[in-house]
Structures are given as structure tokens and as C-alpha cells.
């Protein structure tokens, strides 16, 4: 049955291709074989969770005629996955989800790729960062924690984070600059592990994404102090007692002038046609309408900005410049660059 279905689609596509030469506007590209969904990170992290949710949503609502297959290529801080996409020129059956390593990996390691080597499709959402401490620590507000850091000698307070010279450490360096005090940054493999190390009291604070630490918050094991965004989060569902994501103040309002959000975006290999890009933009617009996606956005307190086309490219250009600036200041740029 499914094969017949696929055959029918194949014919349709062939007809479509024939029609394209005459009336380009009527032609619509559709995938004709399974689409590989590259995750340039390990299993279980934020990007992986989002990719597997997308796979589930697309399969459940039959939004695509062929399968979507998630493949983790995490080698070289994600460089492996990005190089694979870069080298699959004009292959429309491959997409990749990004995290900040889209910008940080080539800068920090010198692995030769840039977001311009790929075709930007769409921004799905922006992931937030929150400053967390263990619930047993005495600091109830960001101000109290900042004061404690300032009062102690350099390196007293330990910040746990995911990876090295990536988003978590970039934020840590920005916090250090804002406070004028050094912290000790300890890198771990994944966000879940970082949250548990905070619960176990092995680090003093973290900058986990909301989804990575929400379950520990509900269990009253960790406490959010402030969010690194320009405005508070809009989600008002109760999480612990009367507290919800919307009750977390912005770091700026708490005297810590640091803002950072992370791109969750989709890219394709270079050299694909506009119809092919349009197909995926449309696909992800449909995904955004599903209840499962809305639930994921709520659970993870994501910033639901959606962008495609020229607007998305402008955003990327600016974000790249921002990262370059931040990493230069922190001294994270590889010698090769």
C-alpha cells in the first residue's frame, strides 16, 4: 500500500517536473526517498530531543510522503555533521538542525565550514538560557548570587556547562565580564548531566536551557534566578508552587546585563533549488500547528520566533558577527582562523 502510494507520488513528481517547464508556479517539489535528518550533536541533548520530536510529529501526522530518519553526527563538536551537509551538494533529501555550534565550532576548532556553505531553510525557535543554582543554596535572587560572587576571590564559584568554547562557556565569560570576577568553568558532555551535577552540589550554578532543568525544578532541587533574554518568558503554567516560567526575571533587570538565545534552525546542503527549500519551509510551518509541537514549546519555554528567507539570512549574518565578537573577547578563536 505504502509502496503504491510512493509510486503514485513518483509519477506525480515526474508529471510535475514535466509541467514545470511550462508553468513554473504550479510545479511543486516533494521528496521521493527518505530524508536524512542530521543532528550535529549526541543523543539526548536539546537538538537531538527536538529532532526526534520533529520526526515523531511528521510521522504521526503524515506530513511528508517519505520517512524522516534522524542520524547523529556529533564528531568534532558537530563539525562531522556540518561537513557531511556541506559535501552533499544539491542533495534535497538531507536536512540538518543547528545549535550554536553552527557558529562556534568553526571558530573554535578551525574545521572548515561556515553557515554560508549551506542553504538556510528556517528558524524553528530560539532556545533560552537560565541561570540556575541548587535549591539548598541561600541565594533567592540573582542579585544575592551576584553579590556573593563579587565578594569572594576569583574562581571560588563553579559554573557547570555543556562543552567547551560553546554557548554555555560564552555566557559564563559574559557573566564574568559583567561582574568583574572570574568563575571556574567546568565542561560536561550533555545538558542533562550538567543539571544533575548541580543537584548533587558539585557545581554552584549552571546556565541550562529550560527543558534540561525543568524536571529538577519541579522536584524543588534547583532554583532559576534569571533568564538571559530581553524580556521575561510568556509561559504561565504553574511549575513549582505558584511559580511559572513567567515569574523568572530577566538577568538585565537583576543587574546582570547579559543576553543570549540559541538558534534552533534548519539548513539544507548547498545548491538545492528554491522549490525544494520552499517545500521544507512549508513542512515546518505545518509542524508548528500541531499540538505536540506546541506542547514541546511550552515544556521547554522556547521563544517561538519563526523566520525564513531573507529575514532569516539577515538574522544569521548578525548572529555570526555577535558570536565572533564574543569569542574573540573570550580568546576562544582557533589559531587557524
Amino acid at each position: 500500500m505504502k509502496n503504491l502510494h510512493a509510486l503514485g507520488l513518483g509519477t506525480l513528481t515526474a508529471l510535475g517536473l514535466a509541467a514545470m517547464s511550462m508553468v513554473p508556479a504550479a510545479a511543486e517539489w516533494k521528496p521521493t526517498k527518505p530524508v536524512e535528518f542530521i543532528v550535529p550533536a549526541g543523543t539526548g541533548g536539546g537538538a537531538d530531543q527536538m529532532a526526534r520530536t520533529l520526526q515523531g510529529i511528521i510521522a504521526k501526522h503524515e506530513l511528508m510522503p517519505t520517512q524522516l530518519i534522524v542520524i547523529n553526527k556529533s564528531g568534532g563538536a558537530g563539525g562531522e555533521g556540518f561537513l557531511d551537509v556541506k559535501n552533499s551538494k544539491a542533495n534535497p533529501h538531507k536536512i540538518v538542525i543547528t545549535l550554536s555550534n553552527l557558529f562556534t565550532t568553526p571558530l573554535a576548532t578551525g574545521i572548515p565550514f561556515n553557515w554560508k556553505d549551506m542553504t538556510p531553510v528556517a528558524m524553528l525557535a530560539l532556545d533560552e538560557f537560565i541561570l540556575w543554582v541548587n535549591a539548598q543554596e541561600p541565594y533567592k535572587t540573582a542579585q544575592e548570587y551576584e553579590a556573593a560572587i563579587k565578594a569572594a576571590p576569583d574562581g571560588t564559584f563553579k559554573m557547570g556547562g555543556t562543552g567547551s568554547k560553546q554557548e554555555d562557556q560564552i555566557i559564563t565569560v559574559a557573566v564574568e565580564k559583567a561582574l568583574g570576577k572570574k568563575m571556574t568553568y567546568i565542561p560536561y558532555k550533555g545538558g542533562g548531566e550538567v543539571a544533575v551535577q548541580l543537584v548533587g552540589g558539585h557545581v554552584n550554578s549552571t546556565v541550562n536551557n529550560p527543558i534540561e532543568a525543568v524536571s529538577q525544578w519541579r522536584g524543588d532541587k534547583v532554583r532559576p534566578l534569571c533568564v538571559f533574554d530581553s524580556k521575561p518568558l510568556p509561559y504561565t503554567d504553574k511549575i513549582l508552587g505558584d511559580l511559572s516560567w513567567s515569574s523568572v526575571p530577566t538577568c538585565k533587570s537583576a543587574g546582570l546585563d547579559v543576553e543570549y538565545v540559541m538558534l534552533r534552525g534548519i539548513f539544507m546542503p548547498p545548491g538545492v533549488s528554491e522549490e525544494q527549500v520552499a517545500y521544507f519551509v512549508d513542512l515546518f510551518k505545518k509542524v508548528r500547528e500541531t499540538p505536540e509541537w506546541k506542547q514541546l514549546m511550552k515544556d521547554g519555554a522556547f521563544n517561538q520566533t519563526f523566520m525564513a528567507g531573507a529575514e532569516f539570512k539577515d538574522w544569521l549574518t548578525k548572529a555570526e558577527a555577535t558570536h565572533k565578537g564574543l569569542m574573540q573577547e573570550a580568546g576562544f578563536i582557533a589559531a587557524a582562523n
Binding site: 543523543t43 563538536a77 544533575v196
Partner: protein, 501 residues
């Protein structure tokens, strides 16, 4: 604790649903097939099937997926015993005695012992989960980087101290493993190491490629040299082999209990099944009456690692559910599944989703029983594979190895690497360098290095962090004793019998 049993009783009600039992059988069979094919692995199997489960209830879905995992664990033992190819890291220790047993015509016995021990290990771990789940989760939280490093140190040290070969050869082999493990991204500095500009090396050396090459290909090369013959060919296939083996198993109760304890402990402290299996094997070898015969086909040498690996593998589910930290790649994929079903692993899961958690725990009991029955009935079938002439089976193994190596990363370069590792394995065997320490170092080297450097970062470079609290110092102390055991025992025997040198 009493209410745990009430919950468990309800859990059985959910898990014993006929549809769920059917799912268990299907899952176990799929898992065994996945486990037999090296390289496919439990994580991939679960990942491929994950989307199929979205239409089921979360409890049914996790029953299917965990049963695939149990099946893969059982299946991993089959290739280890028959062909010396461990499908998973924790099956490596099973090959040491399992494969020699198969070669001397006792494949059926080895498989029965392996399956039964896995079952015992898993069962004990589940009982432990049932009784003390909340306490265990608390204990796992005490493990920071220093404690983790201490556990890895203990695993490495006990290997050096317990090995049959000269400690110097073990250390050489281990150091090669550490060097290979260092290739790729250095997590602490975010820099690439030892890749020499080759993009293929970005990901480092995958454990599976190394193992398929070192053990599988190396074994084929050796057998070719020895005259193209599996000695297992002469084996008599007896349908009653399962029963006969069972009669001998109770003799080894001490080994089982010891391995269960090691396994549960290593599973809860998130060190995992691989060090557990190696440590259980090493200690059994040192303590057992038959210790000298280990490595030549001693049934105790199969029981010890299999029991420990499965006790660890099962108890590792607990930190995943209670803390949201996946202990293995398979657990990580399962974690992704939980999130899609709308379940947040973490401290509140046991409170808010009691039905799901206890249904899962009940399904662990039932799934393991169903699994044991299924795999035991197939023992004679698998054992008879060895009766196929080597000239036919060898090319098949070679092709399966190549496919396995390719599927790890969908990369032809890995197949070449596998062949290179095969030659290395052959040379090392000919020169009597042990392969196991090399494999252990590839598997755990990265994690151990990371934990070591994280500890030093946190302590500001002071090495005293490894003696900073009773927990970490006692593990380090054990490690030191284990590593220096040959020297210590030497000293003791000299003190006891003062002889002129």
C-alpha cells in the same frame, strides 16, 4: 517500602496485559537479532523503531523498546561466545572464556551459562530497584567528577593487578588504548587532537570498529593460520544441554552473588556495565579456586562478567528515570522517547507518573522471564551454527563484520579501519599482548580523562581532591590495592615463608 509493593502489584496488572506480553516477545526476538548483528546495536534498533511506538500508550511503547534492549543484551552474548565478536562493550569479558568453551565443543554450555547469568544479574537488580529506588537515586547524586574518576581508576587498576599476562604488557596495551581514545575532540578545551587534519578522524576511533576488528577479524586470521577449522565443529548438539548445564550452575553461587553486588553498585554509580563486567571477571579470576584456568574455557569466567554486566545494565535504568541521566546510548534514545510521550524523567517522575514507572518495573520482571525462555530454547540452534564448515562461515562472518563496521557511522573509512585493527589484533595475539586492556581503555579512556580533568578544574589543580571525602578516598584506596596487588601478594608470601632468595 511497603507502598512500593502495592505500586508494583498494580504495575503487574498493567504489564501482564496480553497485548503487552505479545509486545515483549516481539521486542525480545527483534532485540536478539539486533544483538547478533555486530554494529547494529541496541541503540540503533531502538532509535529505528521509536517512531513506530508513537501511536501506543507510553507504557506499551516503553515495554516494547526496553524488551528490544533486553533482547540485544542477550543476543550480544551469542556472537561473543560463538565467533569471539563482542557486539557490545560489556560482552568483551564474556569472550575470554566463552569463546574457548565454544572452540572446545562446549558452546551450548557457554550460551546457557551466559543467558542464565544475565537473567540472574538482571533479576537481582530489578529486585533492588523495587526495594530501594528512592535511596539509590540519592546515592547516585553524590557522584561528582572525582568519584567517577575513582571508579574508572578502580576498573583500570584491577585490570592491571589481576591480569594473567605480565603487568608491563597489560600496561603497554592499555596505553595504546588511551592514545587511540584521545583522538578527536578534546571535550575540556574544545580543540581537536591527533586528527592531523583528516576529517575522518574528527569522531575519534569508535569502540565498535576497534572491537570488531581486533576480535572478529583477528580471530579469523588466527583460525586461518591454524588450518581453517573451528574445533567446535566436533561438538555434539544435545537438546538437553540446557538442563545439564543448569545442574552445574548452583555450584558457582558465590561468584554470582559477588558479581551481582559489583554490577548493581557500578550501575547505580553511573560507571556502567562495561567496567562492571571487567571487574567481576578480574575478581572472580583472582578469588576462584579455578582461577589459573581462566581464559581456557572456565564456565565461571562466563558467569562472572555476564551477571555483573546485566545487573549493572538494569540498575542503570534507575538513574535514567530518577535523574534523567542516560547511562548508555540506548538509554539516551529511550530518554528521547520518554520526552515525546510527554514524560519528564526526573525526581518527580516516580511521584507523578507512578503508573508508568511501576508498569515499566513490572515489565522488567516479565520481560526478562520471557526473554530467558525464548533464548534458552534457541541455544541448540545457535550452537549448531559452529558445525558449518569454517570455509563457509568465515566469509559470512567477514561480510557481517564489514556491514557492522559500516553501519556504525555509514562510513567506508570505518571498514578500512576495521581491517587495520584486525591485523593489529592478530599481531598482538601472536606476541602475547592482551587485547582486553586496549579495548577497556578505548571504551573508558575518554570518560576517565574527562572526569580526571573536571575534578582538577574544580579543585584548582589540587590532586588531594581524590582524597577529599570518605566515599572517593575509599574507592581510590581500593583501586590502589587492586593495582598493586601483585606486589602486595608477593610481599605477603615472602613474609610468611622467609626463604633465602
Amino acid at each position: 517500602m511497603l507502598e512500593n509493593f502495592t505500586y508494583l502489584y498494580h504495575g503487574f496488572g498493567i504489564a501482564a496485559d496480553p497485548f503487552n506480553i505479545l509486545l515483549m516477545a516481539v521486542g525480545i526476538l527483534l532485540g536478539v537479532i539486533i544483538g547478533v548483528l555486530p554494529g547494529l546495536g541496541g541503540a540503533n534498533g531502538v532509535a529505528i523503531l521509536l517512531p513506530l511506538t508513537f501511536s501506543m500508550s507510553p507504557t506499551s511503547a516503553i515495554i516494547l523498546l526496553t524488551c528490544i534492549y533486553w533482547g540485544a543484551l542477550f543476543g550480544g552474548a551469542i556472537t561473543s561466545v560463538l565467533f569471539n565478536i563482542p557486539g557490545e562493550p560489556w560482552s568483551v569479558a564474556t569472550t575470554f572464556d566463552g569463546h574457548p568453551m565454544a572452540r572446545s565443543g562446549r558452546a551450548g554450555e557457554a550460551l546457557t551459562a551466559a543467558f542464565t547469568s544475565s537473567f540472574v544479574g538482571a533479576f537481582v537488580a530489578i529486585v533492588m530497584i523495587t526495594m530501594i529506588a528512592p535511596l539509590v537515586a540519592q546515592f547516585a547524586l553524590r557522584f561528582g567528577p572525582a568519584e567517577k574518576f575513582a571508579v574508572y581508576f578502580l576498573a583500570f587498576a584491577s585490570f592491571v593487578g589481576m591480569s594473567k599476562e605480565a603487568p608491563s604488557k597489560t600496561i603497554v596495551s592499555m596505553m595504546i588504548g588511551f592514545a587511540l581514545a584521545a583522538v578527536g575532540l578534546d571535550m575540556v578545551t574544545g580543540q581537536l587532537r591527533l586528527t592531523f587534519g583528516f576529517e575522518e578522524l574528527l569522531n575519534g576511533f569508535d569502540f565498535l570498529i576497534a572491537v570488531i576488528g581486533l576480535f572478529g577479524i583477528g580471530e579469523i586470521l588466527l583460525t586461518m593460520e591454524e588450518g581453517l577449522e573451528f574445533r567446535g565443529k566436533a561438538a555434539k548438539i544435545d537438546a538437553k544441554v540446557v538442563w545439564h548445564t543448569w545442574k552445574t550452575l548452583p555450584k558457582y553461587w558465590m561468584t554470582s552473588i559477588r558479581s551481582c553486588i559489583i554490577g548493581c553498585w557500578m550501575g547505580i554509580t553511573p560507571a556502567g556495565a562495561t567496567p562492571a563486567s571487567f571487574m567481576a571477571y578480574g575478581i572472580a579470576k583472582r578469588v576462584s579456586k579455578n582461577g589459573k584456568n581462566f581464559g581456557n574455557g572456565e564456565i565461571e569466567g562466563v558467569i562472572a562478567p555476564e551477571t555483573a554486566a546485566h545487573a549493572a545494565g538494569t540498575s542503570a535504568m534507575l538513574p535514567m528515570l530518577a535523574l534523567g541521566v542516560p547511562g548508555s546510548p540506548t538509554a539516551a534514545v529511550l530518554l528521547g522517547g520518554l520526552l515525546i510521550w510527554g514524560l519528564q524523567p526526573g525526581p518527580m517522575l516516580f511521584v507523578e507518573q507512578a503508573e508508568f514507572v511501576w508498569g515499566l518495573i513490572a515489565s522488567m520482571y516479565l520481560g526478562n522471564i520471557v526473554g530467558l525462555i525464548l533464548v534458552l530454547t534457541t541455544v541448540p540452534l545457535f550452537a549448531s551454527i559452529l558445525r558449518i564448515p569454517f570455509s563457509i562461515i568465515a566469509p559470512v562472518i567477514l561480510v557481517i563484520c564489514a556491514i557492522g563496521a559500516y553501519t556504525v557511522n555509514n562510513n567506508v573509512f570505518d571498514v578500512v579501519m576495521m581491517l587495520v585493527f584486525g591485523v593489529i589484533g592478530y599481531v598482538m595475539k601472536k606476541t602475547n599482548y592482551p587485547l582486553a586492556p586496549l579495548v577497556l581503555a578505548i571504551v573508558l579512556g575518554d570518560a576517565a580523562e574527562e572526569a580526571f580533568r573536571q575534578s582538577l578544574l574544580a579543585s584548582g589543580g589540587a590532586i588531594s581532591v581524590f582524597w577529599s571525602n570518605p566515599l572517593v578516598s575509599s574507592i581510590m584506596g581500593l583501586g590502589l590495592v587492586a593495582g598493586l596487588w601483585p606486589l602486595i601478594s608477593n610481599l605477603f608470601s615472602r613474609l610468611r615463608t622467609p626463604q633465602p632468595a
